[in-house]
């Protein structure tokens, strides 16, 4: 049992009052309580942006690094220590813009960790420039005449690139989002949750715009089919689905497992330095001893 108060951080919160980010923070705490994860068993990894500040507001281990580059740091942490629940917390600008390259290749690597993207469709930290998910034609503080580029389709991209767990949540529905996070964290392999998080300061739509359009995927929806999942991934406008869009439970290679099977089945920090004779043996493998004997 872990009480939700254990995640209470002393750091001063810098988000706008009423920001839907608070909903995501609550949902994540609920999920971690349900999974009974102690603060020291959790590692949050983030980059730059408002979403990337979340690790400061949830008491646990964290590494708040470079813009767009949370995923490779987290991948390595997870490979070194499979006992740490590793979660990347990022935003649409950080993950889909600056970190696009890492986003794409992490699907292929399939590390056993979770990616949560606070998708507010805007660069909020820098006061309202279009992000990779701002809609075509939307006017922003920088794109006065409307965005001229079509948005990225991150969920569709994830499904096409073989990400085995793809979900969309809504920061305004905390119970539903908590359940999504529980499922994502439990999943063995890479799980990805894009969370619609309307920006109340710089966003191009009010929260009500999203509330009117969002619906939960029905119980008879089959998340195991790629073509159906792709349709749901790009459904946007009049109706926006939330829930687990794609779920592939066929066994597949998880990044680091092969290495662990070869070297050490556990946390790599347990390994320590190899004994002297093992190093001598390694050196002899280069044929050096034969030369020495000849002399």
């Amino acid at each position: 049992m872990v009480a939700i108060e254990e995640y209470q951080s002393d750091a001063e919160n810098q988000w706008c009052p009423g920001c839907p980010n608070f909903g995501i923070l609550s949902a994540l705490k609920n999920a971690l309580v349900k999974l009974a994860k102690k603060p020291e068993e959790i590692c949050l990894v983030s980059g730059i942006g408002q979403a990337a500040k979340l690790p400061h507001y949830l008491r646990c281990n964290f590494f708040n690094g470079l813009h767009g580059r949370a995923l490779p740091v987290a991948t390595a942490i997870r490979v070194v220590n499979p006992e740490l629940t590793t979660i990347v917390v990022t935003g649409d600008g950080d993950c889909y813009g600056e970190g696009g390259n890492h986003f794409m290749h992490t699907f292929r690597r399939n590390p056993d960790m979770t990616l949560i993207v606070h998708n507010n469709q805007i660069y909020g930290l820098t006061k309202g420039q279009a992000s990779p998910t701002t809609e075509l034609g939307d006017r922003t503080r920088l794109q006065f005449e409307g965005v001229k580029l079509a948005p990225l389709q991150p969920l569709a991209l994830a499904i096409l690139q073989g990400c085995p767990f793809v979900a969309r949540g809504f920061a305004g529905d905390i119970p539903h989002l908590s359940d999504l996070f529980v499922e994502a964290i439990r999943f063995k392999g890479f799980s990805y949750v894009d969370v619609i998080q309307p920006c109340i300061s710089w966003g191009t739509h009010p929260v009500s715009w999203y509330r009117e359009r969002i619906y939960k995927l029905p119980p008879d929806y089959n998340p195991h089919q790629v073509d159906g999942a792709l349709k749901k991934a790009i459904e946007w406008g009049d109706r926006i689905p939330i829930g687990i869009l794609y779920h592939d439970d066929t066994p597949r290679h998880v990044f680091g497992d092969y290495f662990r099977a070869q070297i050490h089945d556990g946390t790599l920090t347990e390994l320590g330095f190899p004994p002297r004779d093992a190093l001598d043996e390694l050196l002899e493998g280069f044929g050096a001893s034969k030369l020495k004997n000849k002399r």
Partner: protein, 312 residues
């Protein structure tokens, strides 16, 4: 990924060359800010840009020393040959862990791609440690605790109930973002303080035929054997030549340059980067330069010819 692995509690190294290194330089700054130990091997090739990607050069010395935005401590070593590289990398790991800093090993295409016949390396390093703190002795853990030396207690996440919090933003002692400007200054000083201690561990340059020498060839990295061979041959022809070879370049070692000698640079680059470094740090006057930047390694004949041209 290397920074993540190191944060998680294991030793981590990455190897790259000019363009890849340049691309990822922001990571060096991240390692500097988060004080995450890191070893990077930089195999130099003729640049700018793609340059001559299958050939050799020593063109990245000043770049490596200055790599990363902002001011923080780091180490730059340039091994002389495979044996030296073997020991230097162990030393780099130990110092990176001890000072929670980045160590850059500068090799070049010549050293990295050549075959050498060598006697078996002896593992004479007595100490291999991560220099971790002991969780039991800590009640209130601060990853960036301000200390006399600037070195804070290092733990890794999951090691104990202590939480390990790191931030690329300026942070307080616990690792949380801060805008406390007084604290900012103290954190800058903390990160630089380590550098002074680190400097006391740096080995002086290797001297050859130095005491008697009138003229001294100064070199660094993979050219040692060629330079030392040239010294012997030049002295065989009646010169009084010595050599000063640097393999630990940053922080610069504490060293006194005797003023009665004449110093020449032997470098595989066009601008004499070691010379610029020594000039700014020691005010050293350089008499002449033997440089090579056609992509081929420095060899004994090239060095002799260059020296004879200067001393004529």
């Amino acid at each position: 990924m290397a920074i993540g692995a190191s944060y998680a509690g294991v030793r981590a190294m990455t190897a790259t060359s000019g363009g890849g290194f340049a691309l990822m330089v922001e990571g060096i700054s991240l390692a500097g800010m988060t004080e995450t130990p890191l070893v990077i091997v930089l195999g130099q090739r003729p640049a700018p840009a793609t340059g001559l990607p299958t050939r050799t050069e020593q063109g990245d010395l000043l770049f490596a020393i200055n790599a990363g935005h902002g001011e923080f401590s780091k180490l730059v070593f340039a091994p002389a040959d495979p044996r030296d590289a073997f020991h230097k990398i162990i030393r780099a790991f130990n110092l990176a862990d001890k000072y929670q800093s980045t160590a850059i090993i500068l090799t070049d295409q010549f050293l990295a791609d050549s075959y050498f016949t060598v006697e078996q390396f002896e593992l004479d390093e007595r100490e291999n440690r991560l220099y971790l703190a002991s969780p039991e002795s800590i009640t209130d853990y601060k990853r960036y605790q301000l200390t006399e030396t600037g070195i804070s207690p290092r733990l890794y996440p999951g090691q104990s109930a202590h939480l390990v919090c790191c931030d690329s933003d300026e942070h307080d002692e616990y690792g949380h973002i801060t805008e406390d400007l007084k604290l900012r200054s103290r954190m800058v000083e903390k990160r630089l303080k380590k550098f002074e201690l680190l400097r006391s561990e740096i080995l002086p340059p290797e001297e050859k035929e130095f005491t008697e020498a009138k003229d001294v060839l100064m070199s660094w990295g993979s050219s040692r054997n060629a330079v030392f061979e040239a010294v012997d041959k030049l002295n065989g022809k009646g010169n009084k030549v010595g050599a000063l070879h640097f393999t630990e370049l940053w922080p610069l070692p504490v060293y006194q340059f005797p003023s009665e000698k004449q110093y020449y640079l032997v470098e595989s680059n066009a601008t004499g980067q070691l010379g610029r470094l020594l000039q700014s740090a020691f005010g050293l006057h350089v008499e002449g330069r033997i440089t090579r930047y056609d992509g081929l390694p420095l060899d004994c004949a090239y060095i002799m010819e260059g020296f004879e041209r200067w001393s004529r």
